[in-house]
Symmetry: C2
Subunit: 299 residues, 2 copies
């Protein structure tokens, strides 16, 4: 079954203590879409400017990503520049140039409106709504977000939570949204806001799924070296939904393994700048990490 991915499509300039890489392929939809493409056909919805490198379009295409929903318009592509500290957990934004993204209005074709799985990757909640408004009875809708939207578009986000099946956010965002320090208390509150499934990302500490089937504590794949964590969360949710879309049967029956596949894919993302590693993994490598994760938590 196929997936519609809407989110940002951007150029990222990323500095770490080791290196500086200008104008990498970035954006939540790029990471999520490529991650999902290892499991299911992906339709990308986004916008780029005329400066968007052809090689990045080709990268999408090599992953079989349907680009009908990618608007290419006069102007500059959304550009984000950021810098990581030594520990790779702290980063600061150096520059954000919205470019053509400022006037982005997703328009879905008839075919796109029928897509069963929908990933509302990190983007303004108003745009996430705008996509949902056009969808016809999707099977499963998952939304990601970031602290920015909690701060400047909370009403839109709260309204979104009543329209989606699953909500993904990180632990500090869960605490910010609910004013609860205890993670389980925060999760309980988020369920009350709407979503049946709540997935809290904890970076290197893994993630927590809360669902009608109970809690699931998922590990992150332990890495000896993190090169660039940008997009790891997007890759996680992309891999997760990709796996889910590839399985027949109920969401509850496959969600735990879907999260593990998301963890595996996200770990590759961290091993290279931008999408350089994520775009070159094999199914065998993913399955090896899934098996490794099984061995890491077995007792």
């Amino acid at each position: 079954m196929s997936i519609l991915v809407v989110g940002s499509t951007a150029l990222d300039s990323i500095k770490t203590p080791q290196a500086a890489n200008p104008r990498l392929l970035g954006g939540s939809a790029s990471h999520a879409g490529v991650a999902a493409s290892y499991f299911a056909p992906v339709k990308l919805v986004g916008i780029v400017g005329e400066d968007f490198p052809k090689r990045y379009l080709n990268l999408y295409r090599r992953h079989g990503i349907d680009l009908e929903g990618l608007q290419i318009v006069p102007g500059k592509t959304f550009h984000w520049a950021g810098e990581y500290e030594v520990n790779m957990n702290n980063r600061r934004t150096l520059r954000t140039e919205l470019g053509v993204f400022e006037n982005f209005s997703p328009r879905l074709s008839k075919a796109h409106q029928e897509t069963p799985y929908v990933l509302l990757a990190n983007i303004a909640p108003a745009l996430q709504h705008h996509v949902l408004d056009q969808m016809r009875r999707p099977t499963f809708v998952i939304a990601d977000t970031m602290d920015l939207w909690l701060n400047i578009a909370l009403a839109d986000l709260l309204r979104l939570l009543r329209r989606i099946d699953a909500f993904v956010l990180n632990d500090s965002e869960a605490r910010l949204l609910t004013k609860e320090d205890n993670l389980l208390a925060a999760i309980r509150q988020i369920h009350r806001l709407g979503p049946k499934y709540v997935i809290v990302k904890k970076g290197e500490h893994g993630s927590v799924l809360s669902s009608p089937a109970g809690l699931f504590l998922a590990p992150a794949f332990p890495l000896r070296k993190v090169v660039d964590p940008t997009g790891a969360g997007d890759s996680f949710v992309g891999g997760l939904l990709g796996y889910l879309a590839s399985q027949n049967g109920s969401i509850d029956a496959h969600l735990r393994r879907a999260i593990i596949h998301g963890s595996a894919v996200a770990s590759f993302c961290c091993e290279g700048f931008g999408l350089t590693r994520l775009a070159r993994i094999t199914h065998r490598e993913i399955e090896d990490r899934v098996k490794h994760l099984e061995a890491l938590v077995r007792f």
Copy 2:
């Protein structure tokens, strides 16, 4: 098989945003000893003053703890006072009065010297050495520590690492000790310093075991409410070694489940001030949490 536990035996005055509790039973050996006592016979080695409440001696006795090695001497019991912030992850020390602890010199009886399992709970490395010096070929020695000793007694600690089987420390201490930000890199370095088994505690994020059998990512039991986390790490290592001592067979065959039992016991510790909850758990309650932990990570 029995366990020798050496560490601090103290009175703790603990403030949290919810309550203030003066002169609770505390100290690393108290938490670790009581936690271990659910699984194996415990011999406590420590020192208290004449002000040490009888009810705390009775609490030890109710747990079948051998007090031959507990010196009761003229003077005041070690007293620690601390205060937690709202999120319970940050605490500050308000007062430390060493009292009789200042001149503590553990003396082991012949019988104690033959104990097969040794827990060097958090205490000055010089005292941990002093206990090891008196032991006769123990089966398994595990040591815990704290950041203080990394800062003021590093040479003693490094010398200790060459004498023990397993070393337990938390993630920030692992980074402090090795100057490595990446946890796997830090663990690799710690192995080079001596211990065959390295166990890194990550609080609510669980723990990581590194052994010849590979890595194990262990969950922490998720709690809806943390009342007082003081001693959770001591309870973890106590429960861990207690379970290990209760099993026949190789360390490698039982260490993962031992860590899970440590996690379960530590979670009870956090649910009450001092030892109030830890001292009143049943075997059934521990086993229920172990089963729950299994269900929480299964996929």
